[in-house]
Symmetry: C2
Subunit: 310 residues, 2 copies
Amino acid sequence: MTPPPAPSDAVAIELNAVLVALTANQPLVLTLEDGTLLPSGPFATEHPTLQSGLRAWVERQTNHPLGYVEQLYTFADRNRPGSDGCQRVVSISYLGLTRERLSAGARDPEWRSWYRYFPWEDWRAGPSPLIAQTILPKLTTWAEAGGDATSRRERQQRVEVSFGDGAETWNEDLVLQRYELLYEAGLVPEAKQPAADPVPGMPMRHDHRRILATGIARLRAKIKYRPVFFELMPPEFTLLQLQRTVEALAGRPMHKQNFRRLIDAHGLVEPTGASSAEARGRPAKLFRFRREVVLERAVLGSKLPLSRPI
Amino acid sequence: MTPPPAPSDAVAIELNAVLVALTANQPLVLTLEDGTLLPSGPFATEHPTLQSGLRAWVERQTNHPLGYVEQLYTFADRNRPGSDGCQRVVSISYLGLTRERLSAGARDPEWRSWYRYFPWEDWRAGPSPLIAQTILPKLTTWAEAGGDATSRRERQQRVEVSFGDGAETWNEDLVLQRYELLYEAGLVPEAKQPAADPVPGMPMRHDHRRILATGIARLRAKIKYRPVFFELMPPEFTLLQLQRTVEALAGRPMHKQNFRRLIDAHGLVEPTGASSAEARGRPAKLFRFRREVVLERAVLGSKLPLSRPI
DNA sequence: TTACTTATACTAAGAATGAGCATTAAAATC
DNA sequence: GATTTTAATGCTCATTCTTAGTATAAGTAA
């Protein structure tokens, strides 16, 4: 059918990592060069697999173990933003979760909240006002400028699917679709023909903001059926701390009682016996993660116990 | 943190495709060389993206459009089965769905039922007897041969999670975990130290059976929230034909009335007005897929209406 | 002591799911 | 032509899962 593929000429392999940590209820991502780049790992190492090489490299750099690693996507587009056109760049990206941050306040590498890059993705205090006030109007203009009637209707439908109506119908998993729609509409500075007035949100170089969007989307989808969020928690924690962590990742508020019922129903935690008196109110019991459940089958039944904002 | 990655020396890029079609209620995969290889596509093409290049290549070869394409995984392990050790091979694999098969009965390329490679994955007629009779005994032996007590318990737990108890608790999505467990236990011919009596199921060269397992697993998971199975259907079909298609992919029987209720509740189809008189009984109405729903939000609520075998 | 937080128990309504009965409509067979 | 067989389709009922609360307990800060 096809001869065995010949070794391709002039291929550069690049590893990109979306490294996530969590501090003060903010989801953080490790960045370089004033927040404009994701860290790139070495490819040709002594390690047998990409994943083990990446893990060792991150652990050496941050002095903390990587709790969870998963491959995100491989980009190899010829006219990929950032490639110079003559050499094909294959970029293999990974998502990694880690428990603690390296030296606080450092620059390069620096941990930054991912909502600086995607401010419209934070709905923890209710629907992001950015969407109804800024994004939807611009996208509607773009949709109405589409060529023929079919194209216009298709654009409108994509806007509606990705962003909902700006209030009730929000799907927090569609991070990547939303970014790509804004990219196509020229509403982010990375676009080929960027508009004069892009939507708020810090850009990155090359296609690193797209890779970050891929990572956030994957993580938001993942926490619904695998309790990976424990990799971001300290060994002991209260249920409210756990809830705030999940809310930070999902970008949405949750119903406290139902959240606890869910965690309990799946046997994710066990009490340590101790209590925390960190906050002002009634002391909360401390829990630890039951490692055994990682091996068990899927959990959390694909639905997070969202609450409607008050 | 790290200098920009230097172009790696001696890297070969290989594209592998898991191309799926469906005929006579069998899920088929395109193979080469007497069923021992998956097709490999060219890498350096005139196309701007890997995906468009793969799509064009497949459509040229099979004379049928590829309905759906998705990236599966990138393997780049140094001691990957099939690599000769000196040159690093990066293998990017894709899943593609297509509607019709090319010339029937052809050899090379040839469409083969994926259950020839994974006979234990077909539970359409109830729990696969292979599991209780052959696989679980062998895996139990392997688990009990583990080094210390901790290792033995961990092995047992992995067997239990991947294969369940051989009867009630079966998760059809864990195709890859099951194959990898059998690989580790030396129970497939591809293993490094294969046992004298591997479990039934046709092997493939290199790591192509692992790639196929990845594709099946991805597809089984995908149909629960995106109706991609329509890409395998003719333009008009009866609801029973649709059910048989989903059953072929998931490898499990479904409850007919509840399956129809689900399809109906999500507005996936619309009647064409015509009826089919293919089978003996009462003629079934013909339906067509409502293309609009592809754009809409997630569907099928993560649960297929399984039925217990009679 | 009072006001305020936070934790935790419990419940009622509604939606989704699992399982099956009953009926209809055609072809095949006697 | 009546009867059997095969499938399609309509409908119900119980159970479980979700949603959205109310109520109460147990601490700290003023």
